[in-house]
Amino acid sequence: MEHTDEEALALMAIGENPSPPDEEHVRTCAHCARELDALRHVVLTMKGQPLQEGELLPPPADVWDSIASELDLPHQHEGAGGNVGEQDRTGGQAPSPTPARTRSRRLSRLSVTLAACAALLGAAAGSTITWWVTRDGTTVSVADGRRLDSLQANSAGYARLNGASGHRTLTVTVKGLPRTSGYFEVWLMDRTHTKLVSMGVLDSKGRATLPVPNNIDLREYSVVDVSVQPYNGKPDHSGDSIVRGQYAG
């Protein structure tokens, strides 16, 4: 077999998912495994150790003062010193969020946890919507899509079908998605999990509202599934599901 080409090795080293033949090849070929190791060493040396949540150190207050005085800026101490540590905690790991977005993402986790509890309460009470007041005093409304089975620890998914025939949509929300360089795809399946229809992908918040074609028989395709898909151009289900179950509605 031919050696894996340089580009495939470089992309593997930088964290992209390899194709199965490339993956298999570097496992069995000492030459390519050495090349990959050398490239990975470059990547890891430059990336450094990933910062952990809460590891961010606010610089001492006099750093900004020194910058301002070296640049001869009028002192803008307000807002510069005290809350620096509250900003981007994701280090080099994620697309740069603004502080507001970082904050909202953390709050989202809380909200979804609350949503999960509220969904259960809502289901118990037989209502479709539960209103929830967070400890911040902000009202959060929660829809009670049915909880799907979690096939990966830390992930929780909800799905609900809305609308009448002709305008049906499937709304899926998954919290606690694993990190991936690929994407998350939503499927409808029959109960034996052998017949599948791809519905679309989740957005960056783990949500999707997807149109359901009229001619899909939902008595047959009664199961919704969310998979993590490698970004490799292959349209098949990866076999790597995160949540699966029957939707509400």
Partner: protein, 202 residues
């Protein structure tokens, strides 16, 4: 239909009053010389830069110096920052790594000086501060990254410092995915070769 996301958006809106500018707007303002953007950039990324410098250098005082040099250098060199080519955060992280590498080089020079004048001191310093292979490799690689053609450097900095996938880099830069991948390959191969020649791990 609504879900739990709604509430966090309400809260985010309150938080956003403190800082309504997107990262893109901030980058543009910075490039245009708006001083409030320097202050805002420091608020957003000062802790990240200080933390990265502290971890790389293992010394708070040096990390403070590097953090100061990054923002002073970035502000003075803001004309060379092009918001079209990448985010302000990536650019600042690139400068941070260069300044950290410079600090490590200064340190090793300083150490050689000490070794030259005190035999007893040398034993002490060597035990504590001798650069490890990984430090030498980092200095060599940071230098090579800085020498790469701009397109190769940009895609690698985005992958190294922001952990973006190739697809995300293509989206950010507007380059075709194939171009991003070939730039990644060329840049990474060149860095690997440089390390084979000049690296610490032989």
């Amino acid at each position: 239909m609504t879900t739990g996301w709604g509430g966090s958006q309400v809260l985010a809106a309150t938080v956003a009053v403190m800082s309504t500018r997107s990262d893109e707007e901030l980058g543009q303002g910075f490039a245009d010389g708006d001083e409030s953007c320097l202050n805002e950039a420091y608020r957003r990324w000062g802790a990240l830069i200080f933390t990265v410098a502290t971890k790389r250098l293992g010394d708070t005082e040096e990390a403070k110096d590097v953090t100061q040099q990054v923002f002073v250098g970035a502000w003075r060199g803001r004309k060379s920052y092009d918001p079209q080519r990448g985010s302000l955060k990536t650019w600042l992280m690139g400068i941070t790594h260069k300044k950290v590498a410079d600090a490590l080089i200064r340190r090793s020079r300083h150490q050689r000086d000490i070794e030259a004048v005190t035999v007893a001191g040398a034993a002490e310093v060597t035990r504590q501060d001798a650069p490890t292979d990984s430090v030498v490799d980092f200095v060599v690689l940071a230098d090579e990254l800085d020498r790469l053609p701009q397109h190769q450097r940009t895609v690698l900095e985005m992958a190294f410092y922001e952990d973006l996938t190739q697809a995300q880099i293509a989206q950010r830069t507007g380059l075709p995915l194939g171009t991003v991948k070939s730039n990644t390959r060329r840049g990474l191969m060149r860095m690997k070769k440089r390390l084979e020649v000049d690296g610490g791990a032989h």
